[in-house]
């Protein structure tokens, strides 16, 4: 696995998300407090790539994002859909290093960087 640099941590407003293209996949990266999380950007209920645009919050303390289309919530840590146990999304390794957000990928070096 290698780390791909995405953006500055400060580029993401607190409690919001951004979408990134990593190894050909659409990844939604969220900033909640001092932490970052990465899950797929794909909302299976609307079949649109929009989760990064959802509202970040918590349900009984579990950090989550609500899809902007039909408002299904997904656990930011695990990708599990909180409204339907049969649905879960892939998650991605993510870290902040020297103020830069990085996502881990196994994909070969691809042209989608910058």
């Amino acid at each position: 696995m290698r780390w791909v640099e995405i953006c500055l941590f400060d580029d993401i407003l607190p409690d919001t998300g951004v979408a990134a293209l990593v190894g050909g996949e659409q990844v939604a990266i969220f900033r909640a407090g001092d932490d970052v999380f990465a899950i797929s950007n794909y909302d299976p209920f609307s079949q649109a790539y929009v989760l990064a645009r959802g509202i970040v919050g918590d349900k009984h303390g579990v950090l989550k994002v609500a899809s902007p289309i039909y408002k299904h919530s997904f656990d930011l840590q695990t990708g599990q859909c909180l409204d339907n146990p049969a649905v879960s999304l892939p998650t991605y390794p993510v870290q902040v290093s020297a103020g830069v957000v990085q996502v881990g990928t196994n994909a070969p070096v691809s042209p989608d960087a910058r």
Partner: protein, 854 residues
């Protein structure tokens, strides 16, 4: 081997019987077969009239083919049972089937009685019993102006309401000297008539219809009466009572009741031990019951008997008390309403100002309540009715039960606590207060919906739902819990309470608000609410740093998200007036960006299919041409529609276009608990549909009439008149007050119509607040509105000048690529997003595809 059990009739009671049999494990013992004459499986006849307002046939359905299959019940619809051969235990149907039965249950219901009047078969005469009847009435009413209901009883008035909803001039003709003669007395009848006439239904009592006179084409033209009078009409509905459908039983030689109906025992058995009868076709003790609850009780008795229950339920007659809301008027009648018990005494109270009449019938010794009548305000019905049923001992001053109290508190001594545990709360499901409260406690139920799901109470006629609500409140109170209207788990406040705190404490960001009033981080429910409250009070730009994360996706990108993740663009076109040059700009922009164009229902133009990264460039072009944001994305003022008014129209009374533009420009950008729409019409022809808006102005010779709290949408409701003949200045002042009062006090996502419906005192109260300033806040409301109006900015214009804000408008933070998932196809010369059947969905690796939710 299983025996064959056949049910004839798939109405409400026949269906209930099947359900009860299935619950009792009938499938092991019987092969269950049901025949229904109607084209549909059982549906909710009690709520039949809702078919004309807000419910479809599917909504009303009680049974579906899938359900019956799952229950292992064989069913035949649209097949009438024509005869029963008792000697060899078979029956024959209209389609020619002959089947053997071991046990037979007749649940054939009743039919509407059509009095033997000359001309009763003319084209345009109907009854009111089935969905098919309603379809026929609706179709015929399209070409009719006037409708008459013959019969002023319960159903007749319900039917009159339906005709009114269909837009007909409606008359009710009643043979007796008053409406609802069976349920209410002369005094109550007078008041009911006055109330119903005030609603625009013409009432004719003491009228005997002698003939229905058709025209040459065979269509109804008029009614003639015994007193020589006539009444022209296009449509007639008979609602002169019901007759039990006992014809099958009659020809099969079963014993009938004296006045018709199939005679049954307490277990539902007829004179043939293998045949049962239940519901409206059955007569117990010579009496036929035209209500659903007694039918359900018979069904339970028959089911127990057929399953050989150890302690079978018995039917021992039922109470015919009723409460209903007819054309918005409460009427209730219970127990011995006409004081027929020897020595009984009456207490009555009528208030001609409030338009209420209440009567109690009390036994000789003044100890027990025997019955009563309530017209105009039936809020005490549930308790009073139960006091009769449960023989509760009366308080020392029984008149307190119906006299209004001055302080506004609930009437003296009324509360569910006075009822014994055995009081029957839901007669349809035969449940006592004890059973319902027990379920609330054991299963920790917190909503009426929970109670319905857990106990089935309230799922029949629905009449007991208010009582369930009271029981729930009482139980929660005892348990030290309260029913909350809290916004969500993060805020233990209603929207109104939160609004007040934000304003009084001067809180300006979500961080401050959650610290002062909430807990944890917030969620997609409370964040937009707080964003909206902050905007209504302080009116900062919604994309300012602390506010941006709170916004719903639509507000966040100031455009409406579509099913493929692209957005729509709606520039403001105030009052719907637009110059050719501006039209050309819109057209050119659409063309340059390949956007789909549609005229909206709100007199403006919607451009669809813009990618998030295109939004700023598109808006830059529009803003440059003088357009502003249309706030189609916000819970905010949308449009103020106009008609052309004096500008061109030969009937115009005022400049409706000019005023609509002024009003739209005044309130543009105003954020509210839900979206707001307005309209201004130039005369009473009302081409702008102002009476279907949150606020509507209709020009008169002298000025404008102001209507408020109407809407279309999910549950259409007409606006109500707030004030008449206002100058433009007065109209704006009242609008300022009205809108701000709504913004302060409404619940989250509550539009003005439901808000008004929940406002104690309704439109009269609203008039007091807005016009008479009864709360002394008018000036403050106007000031608050002035502050919002004064700080208006076009959200798009500001955003375009702010690099920070513009950063958000790209699909990927790390690439200029666009979303490859967006695929369009061409249709009627424009682009639209492809349906999933039209493309291979681009599903990311590792994802678990599950459903097709579209």
């Amino acid at each position: 081997m299983r025996e064959t059990l056949i049910i004839v009739g798939n109405g409400m009671v026949g269906h209930k019987f099947i359900e009860l049999m299935v619950e009792r494990g009938a499938a092991n013992r019987y092969d269950v077969v049901v025949f229904g004459e109607e084209t549909r499986l059982a549906y909710d006849r009690v709520h039949l009239s809702d078919y004309f307002s807000d419910r479809s046939a599917d909504d009303l359905a009680l049974a579906t083919p899938d359900l019956y299959r799952a229950w292992d019940v064989r069913f035949f619809t649209h097949d009438r049972v024509q005869s029963i051969q008792r000697d060899d235990q078979t029956l024959t149907t209209a389609s020619g089937q002959t089947l053997h039965y071991d046990k037979l249950v007749l649940a054939t219901g009743s039919s509407a009685f059509v009095p033997p009047i000359e001309g009763r078969g003319a084209v345009g005469t109907f009854v009111y019993r089935t969905l098919n009847d309603l379809d026929a009435i609706r179709a015929y009413a399209q070409h009719a102006k006037t409708g008459v209901v013959i019969g002023g009883g319960l159903l007749g008035l319900e039917c009159a309401n339906a005709l009114k909803l269909l837009g007909l001039e409606t008359h009710v003709v009643e043979f007796a000297p008053r409406l609802m003669p069976v349920q209410i007395d002369e005094q109550g009848g007078k008041l009911l008539r006055a109330k119903i006439e005030a609603l625009g239904v013409r009432v004719h009592v003491s009228k005997t219809t002698t003939a229905i006179v058709p025209g040459e084409d065979g269509r109804v033209e008029q009614l003639t009466f015994a007193d020589g009078g006539t009444l022209p009409t296009d449509l007639v509905v008979f609602s002169a009572g019901i007759r039990p459908r006992d014809e099958l039983a009659r020809t099969a030689g079963l014993t009938l009741g004296e006045r018709g109906g199939i005679a049954i025992s307490a277990t539902g058995q007829t004179s043939d031990p293998n045949i049962y009868a239940i519901g409206e076709c059955a007569a117990f003790d010579g009496k036929v019951y035209g209500l659903v609850a007694p039918g359900y009780q018979m069904a339970a008795a028959a089911a127990d008997s057929l399953m050989g229950a150890a302690q079978p339920a018995c039917f021992e007659g039922a109470d015919l008390s009723t409460k209903l809301k007819l054309l918005g008027v409460d009427v209730a009648s219970f127990g011995d309403a006409f004081a027929t018990t020897a020595g009984s005494r009456e207490i009555s109270f009528s208030d001609h100002v409030a338009g209420t009449y209440k009567k109690l019938v009390i036994d000789k010794r003044g100890k027990h309540l025997l019955g009563g009548i309530l017209v105009g305000d039936a809020s005490a019905y549930d308790i009073l009715h139960q006091m009769v049923q449960a023989q509760v001992v009366l308080p020392p001053h029984p008149e307190d039960l119906i006299l209004p109290t001055r302080s506004g508190a609930a009437s003296g001594g009324l509360g569910v606590d006075v009822l014994p545990e055995s009081a029957k709360v839901c007669s349809c499901e035969n449940l006592s207060k004890g059973a319902v409260c027990g379920a609330i406690r054991t299963h920790n139920l917190t909503t009426v919906g929970d109670i319905k799901a857990c106990t089935k109470a309230g799922t029949g006629c629905g009449g007991c739902v208010p009582m369930l609500n009271d029981l729930l409140k009482a139980e929660m109170k005892k348990a030290g819990k309260t029913i909350t209207n809290h916004i969500c788990e993060h805020f233990a406040f209603s929207r109104q309470e939160l609004f007040h705190r934000v304003k009084v404490q001067g809180l300006r960001t979500f961080g401050e608000v959650i610290q002062a009033c909430g807990s944890s981080r917030g969620c997609e429910i409370c964040k937009p609410v707080v964003a909206s409250v902050l905007a209504s009070i302080w009116n900062d730009h919604i994309l300012d740093k602390p506010h941006a994360p709170l916004q719903d996706s639509n507000d966040y990108f100031m455009a409406n998200i579509q099913r493929d993740g692209t957005y729509s663009v709606v520039p403001r076109v105030a009052g719907g007036e637009i110059t050719p040059d501006k039209l050309i700009v819109i057209g050119q922009v659409a063309k340059d960006f390949g956007l789909y164009v549609k005229i909206t229902g709100g007199q403006r133009i919607d451009l669809f299919g813009a990618r998030v990264d295109q939004l700023p460039t598109i808006w830059a072009r529009l803003v440059e041409a003088g357009f502003e944001s249309g706030h189609a994305y916000g819970k905010a003022l949308r449009t103020v529609k106009s008609c052309v008014g004096t500008t061109w129209c030969r009937y115009g009374q005022q400049d409706s276009v000019g005023f609509a533009i002024a009003v739209e420009n005044r309130y543009k950008g105003l954020r509210a608990p839900h979206k707001l729409k307005g309209a201004v019409s130039g005369c009473t022809r009302e081409c702008a549909e102002a009476q279907s808006k949150d606020f509507g102005l209709i020009a008169t010779e002298k000025g404008y009439n102001l209507y408020v709290c109407g809407n279309g949408g999910v549950k259409p409701q007409h606006a109500q008149l707030l004030a008449e003949d206002l100058t433009e200045e007065q109209a704006v002042r009242y609008l300022d007050r009205f809108l701000m009062f709504y913004i302060r006090t409404a619940d989250r996502l509550q539009r003005t119509a439901p808000w008004l419906n929940n406002l104690d005192g309704g439109i009269d109260y609203l008039k007091q607040v807005v016009i008479d300033d009864s709360l002394g806040i008018a000036e403050e409301l106007e000031r608050d509105m002035a502050a919002v109006v004064g700080t208006y900015q076009c959200e798009w214009r500001t955003t375009l000048g702010d690099e920070e804000k513009l950063k958000r408008f790209r699909h990927f933070v790390n690439s200029d690529a666009t979303d490859p998932n967006i695929v369009t196809v061409e249709e009627r010369g424009q682009k639209r997003p492809a349906y999933s059947s039209e493309r291979e969905p681009l599903v990311p690796a590792g994802f678990i595809p599950v459903m097709d939710i579209s």
